[in-house]
């Protein structure tokens, strides 16, 4: 189990990580979702030992890691750019750790060959050993990088946006394979990514990193349907957030007064969150019964294949997004510049207390 306690890392005046706590249980695929510049790479580099925290501690199975040099931490690291050794062949890359590691290096050539072949087998690259790393494709390099790390049997594997350098359809395939490989080895993976779909697909558990702290840790579906705070909701890229103030049991927002179910004291600043796919669109005169609604102007649409995204602007400039599924269309034909009622069932709205 990897445990981070109050880890803080500053670069001059900039605080990258601010008293961060995180637990990565054994035998788990944990994906860490964070925007670019949120400090997610910094977090991995602290765990691996390429950088040290200013405060806090990093523990692996109860043993302090911070302060130890990186080569004595026994932690695997898969780089975004793969960082293969360009002067070595594929099998020499994979055998590198076995041959030259400080403790537990293997002398027997036959044993090294066997373990190298097993590792290449595991990532589906048997027969590629003799090739130079310049002679294989991006996806294959990714597998070599993974095999090179896994062959040394690290206690935990850190993956820094490992799919970032691959094209879309290779990425989808590698997603499945990464999960399958991890399940066979029973080692924990900590996978850092900026893509919410990747984080939700990959992780048994997903952690959201925002403002140098972990905003929420949950399984994918709980996180997606019940974000605990605005930061988590924003990172999922599936929730509209409307800031407002409570006023006599209702919410005064920029789009007018909206009823709320919860009892909240007057003048509490809150944010109302409604998921992109829970909002319906209709003529202002035909709002379905029992649905809350507000008005907004249709700006433009974006066609994404199986889904279509529509953008609306509220009178004071707030941007609202609505998702429609192609096979199960809910939206009428929309005209740019026209006002529509955006409606949703009251129980679809989530209320976050506190200012935006």
């Amino acid at each position: 189990m990897l445990k981070l306690n109050g880890v803080t890392r500053r670069y001059g005046d900039i605080v990258a990580l601010d008293g961060l706590d995180l637990i990565v249980p054994d035998d788990t695929y944990l994906s860490l979702l964070g925007a670019s510049g949120s400090g997610k790479t910094t977090l991995l580099r602290l765990i691996a030992g390429y950088e040290e925290p200013n405060e806090g501690e990093v523990l692996l199975n109860g043993e302090r890691l911070d302060g130890k040099p990186p080569h004595r931490r026994d932690i695997g690291f898969v780089f975004q750019n793969f960082a293969l050794f360009p002067h070595l062949s594929v099998s020499d890359n994979v055998a590198f750790g076995l041959r030259y590691r400080e403790s537990g290096a293997i002398e027997s050539k036959a044993q090294i060959r066997e373990r190298t072949e097993d590792a290449l087998n595991l990532v589906g690259l048997d027969g590629f050993g003799h090739r130079g790393v310049g002679e294989i494709s991006g996806g294959q390099r990714q597998r070599v990088a993974l095999a090179r790390t896994l062959v040394t049997e690290p206690r935990i594997v850190l993956l820094d946006e490992p799919l970032g350098a691959l094209d879309a359809n290779l990425r989808a395939r590698m997603c499945d394979e990464l999960r399958a490989i991890r399940e066979r080895l029973k080692v924990s993976f900590l996978h850092v990514t900026g893509s919410e779909t990747e984080a939700l697909t990959m992780g048994d558990t997903v952690a959201v990193l925002a403002d140098g702290k972990i905003a929420q840790v949950d399984d994918s579906s709980t996180l997606f349907s019940q974000p605990k705070n605005p930061a988590a909701a924003r990172h999922l890229n599936a929730w509209n957030l409307l800031p407002g103030v409570v006023e006599g049991g209702a919410l005064r927002t920029s789009v007018g007064l909206l009823p709320i179910v919860e009892q909240v004291a007057d003048n509490t600043p809150v944010q109302l969150a409604v998921r992109f796919d829970e909002i319906g669109v209709c003529d202002p005169a035909q709002v379905p019964e029992a649905h809350d609604h507000f008005e907004a102007t249709y700006v433009t649409g974006e066609f994404n294949g199986p889904t279509a995204l529509s953008f609306f602007r509220t009178p004071d400039g707030e941007l609202i997004q609505v998702v429609d599924h192609l096979s199960d269309s809910r939206l009428p034909d929309l005209k740019e510049g026209q006002a529509y009622a955006l409606h949703f069932p009251p129980d679809a709205a989530v209320l976050f207390k506190g200012a935006a």
Binding site: Y50, H71, F82, F85, P86, F96, G97, R101
Partner: protein, 279 residues
């Protein structure tokens, strides 16, 4: 200037440049085939390889004494080799130090560079005075050697700095994450990858030291290096044997360049940074 004129003008400039670069060498090469009776000037009396034989001591005795290059050539080669080893080692180590910012790195950088900026005659004279003052004997392998290192170290340092500048640190980090110690990482990853740079730094140091003149002039003591020995013969009278020697040393330099080229090709073919994507 009109675009139509620019190209011929540049071509003319390039042609003149090449002429001035190679002209003197070609003239020397032609004159080295002068016959025994001819002097160091045109016209060629008769084509012959007499002066080459003379240089190598194969000609029958003549009134022209043999060039005293034998010992000085060996001295120069040994000196250049030692200088190369020390300068490139120091240069690589200090360039490695400059990969991370450290306190005072700015001033230290300029102090190193100063070694190649200060006029050679001045440092040479200074070291000569200093060694007299400290009562240290001057010799090509001591005082001159130190000055050669001071002179070539900045070049080696700059070459290695440029190499490290475009070196991707993540391959070293990858090696560390596999449990390989920093020393082994340098040996197995860093050094093989910077080796082409090391070769370039070696070439620089060697050639700079091999024909160094001004710094050596005051510090070499009694035993002369090659450039000093050749200069010494000028003060008597010039014969075409100097030209013959020039041709031979030029050939030697070209051989070095060819070896360098072959080694570079061997170590950089399809390999350099091929294992990484552009992140």
């Amino acid at each position: 200037m009109q675009v139509g004129l620019l190209r011929p003008a540049l071509a003319l400039y390039a042609a003149l440049f090449l002429l001035f670069l190679y002209g003197p060498m070609i003239v020397l090469a032609i004159l080295s085939f002068q016959s025994q009776g001819g002097g160091p000037q045109f016209p060629i009396q008769e084509w012959s390889v007499y002066w080459y034989k003379h240089l190598l001591g194969l000609a029958e005795t003549s009134r022209v004494s043999q060039l005293p290059v034998g010992d000085s050539l060996i001295r120069s080669l040994v000196l250049a080799f030692l200088t190369t080893v020390v300068s490139v080692t120091l240069g690589t180590m200090s360039a490695e130090a400059f990969r991370t910012r450290f306190k005072g790195s700015g001033p230290v950088f300029y102090l190193i560079i100063l070694g190649m900026m200060v006029p050679g005659v001045l440092v040479g004279l200074g070291v000569a005075l200093l060694s007299n003052f400290l009562d240290i004997g001057r010799a090509w392998w001591s005082t001159s050697f130190v000055l050669h290192v001071v002179y070539t170290f900045p070049f080696a340092f700059l070459v290695m700095l440029a190499i490290f500048n475009r070196f991707d640190r993540s391959v070293e980090e990858a090696s560390l994450s596999l449990g390989v110690s920093p020393a082994q990482t340098f040996r197995r990853v860093t050094f093989p990858l910077i080796f082409p740079g090391v070769l370039s730094a070696m070439l620089f140091s060697f050639t700079l030291s091999y024909d160094e003149f001004s710094r050596t002039l005051f510090t070499a003591g009694a035993d002369l290096t090659l450039p000093l020995a050749i200069y010494g013969t000028f003060s008597v009278e010039i014969y075409p044997n100097v030209f013959a020697f020039g041709v031979l040393t030029t050939l030697f330099s070209f051989t070095l360049l060819v070896i360098y080229g072959l080694l570079m090709k061997r170590f950089t073919r399809n390999k350099r940074f091929a294992g990484q994507e552009d992140a």
